[in-house]
């Protein structure tokens, strides 16, 4: 049995996530895995994701991992990252695909022709370090309000239950960049690439024992 399973469904590069987890939990058994049994047995699960939502959903199903992910999202400490956040929702405008529907709400795209307060064009993807305004949750322990995390995405989640929102960021309008419920926590940014703040969040996840 491993301490932490990082779900590998063939989309993108999980080495960064693995390295960052190793850094904060050198003693933990960490497995990058596409084995449903390993995911089911793990104490904690990290669900990353990169690329297009349609491809991610297809590859997850192609490996027969949907049920293992759904189960983990309901019964053990679970951390979604980037598309791993978006896939938890009911539907994505990216490719008009249904998600895993663990959380209620939609995934929508940033508008075209966004501008900042000075009238400068804002690019999409939203790429780089943005400030995170966070709520109270143990996963934010030791992370200052408005700390910067590294983002790269063109779509963002709109939970239909505002009680799920754990953080927002601004581009230029506020958008949800973290959602949580019970044993589940998921973020739009990349903690594994967000220097000290990101490592702190991963550390908090490793130490997290939700009721």
């Amino acid at each position: 049995m491993v301490d932490i399973a990082i779900v590998d469904y063939g989309m993108g590069n999980l080495r960064s996530v693995q390295q960052a987890v190793r850094k904060v939990a050198p003693e933990a058994g960490v497995s990058v895995t596409d084995d449903a049994k390993v995911i089911a047995d793990a104490k904690r699960v990290i669900f990353p994701g990169q690329g297009a939502m349609r491809d991610c959903m297809r590859e997850l199903d192609a490996r027969g991992l949907r049920q293992a992910v759904l189960d983990a999202a309901r019964n053990k400490p679970f951390l979604g990252i980037c598309i791993g956040l978006q896939m938890l929702f009911e539907h994505s405008a990216e490719g008009d695909v249904p998600g895993l529907a663990v959380l209620p709400g939609e995934v929508v795209r940033f508008a075209h022709d966004l501008k900042d307060a000075q009238g400068n064009k804002l690019k999409v993807p939203h790429m780089g370090w943005n400030q995170v305004h966070h709520a109270e949750h143990v996963l934010w322990n030791g992370i200052p309000q408005d700390a910067r995390f590294y983002f790269v995405h063109s779509y963002y989640v709109q939970p239909s239950d505002t009680g799920l929102v754990q953080a927002t960021s601004d581009y230029p309008q506020p958008f949800v960049c973290a959602a949580a419920r019970d044993n589940l926590f998921a973020v739009q940014f990349h903690p594994e690439k967000s220097a000290a703040a990101g490592l702190q969040l991963l550390q908090n996840f490793i130490n997290w024992n939700p009721a």
Binding site: G12, N13, S16, K23, Q50, K193
Partner: protein, 252 residues
């Protein structure tokens, strides 16, 4: 709000960081892993590694370097140089790169950009463009480290790459590179205004005002520099404080 990024660039050959003037006259700047750690400590927002090893030389060195850096540095790492096929992209990502930069091969085989973006996502595909002014308000794309003219218009080429799936453009002015006179601001502005994806300005930084100008006048989303950081003239932190004083949003 989103911060403008400062990206130190490490040109690597034979396991060492080097820096030249207008793509020639290389000067040794040190060990890449050590330098990467130093820039991370100074608050660099990302790091870019360009493997400038001649194609016949051993390319495996860069993989070892990236593996070592990725174990210690938890910010985005971009790696470019010699990327010719999707398998090269895969190998670099597996070594620990977060983004792969494609330059000459994008011109030789534009489908590579589409294939790589389709397979690994646009977020990890950077297209590097080396451009040279050929007439007022007109720039041409050069390849092979700046030696070969392509006849392609830089602005049109950048738009083309965005359409094919590039997530970001790394734009280097060959006229300015290594000259320490500042970015080609007109080039930067022309490309960034034509695109929806982020543009990294590169080539020519000699002082901190040049970095600020790249953002304020050139409209760049990120600024890349090498020698001003390598040879200890400025730290990344100094650069950020300077930019913040000019009203630019940065990660301090």
């Amino acid at each position: 709000m989103l911060a403008k990024r400062i990206i130190p660039c490490l040109d690597v050959t034979a396991g060492r960081v080097v820096k030249g003037v207008s793509f020639v006259e290389l000067r040794d700047a040190g060990d890449p892993v050590e330098i990467a750690r130093r820039y991370d400590d100074q608050g660099a927002d990302e790091l870019t590694f360009l493997d400038i090893t001649a194609s016949s030389d051993d390319r495996s060195i860069i993989f070892h370097i990236i593996e070592k850096v990725a174990e210690q540095v938890f910010i985005p790492l971009t790696v470019g140089g010699g990327v010719r096929e999707v398998q090269d992209v895969r190998n670099l990502l597996n070594a620990g790169a977060d983004k792969v930069s494609i330059n000459t091969s994008a011109v030789v085989n534009p489908q590579l950009v589409a294939d790589a973006a389709g397979r690994y996502g646009s977020q990890c595909i950077v297209v590097a463009i080396d451009a040279k002014q050929v007439a007022p308000g007109k720039w041409e794309v050069f390849t092979h480290g700046g030696r070969k003219a392509t006849g392609l218009d830089a602005v049109e080429w950048a738009k083309n790459m965005q359409t094919l799936g590039a997530g970001e453009i790394l734009l280097t002015s060959m006229d300015q590179d290594g000259q320490k006179r500042g970015f080609d601001l007109a080039l930067t502005r022309a490309v960034t205004d034509a695109l929806e994806i982020p543009v990294i300005a590169s080539g020519g930084v000699g002082n901190l005002q040049h970095l600020a100008d790249g953002v304020k006048l050139g409209g760049a989303d990120a600024v890349l520099a090498a020698s001003i950081f390598h040879f200890g003239e400025y730290t990344v932190q100094q650069a950020k404080r300077y930019m913040a004083q000019q009203g630019i949003e940065v990660r301090l």
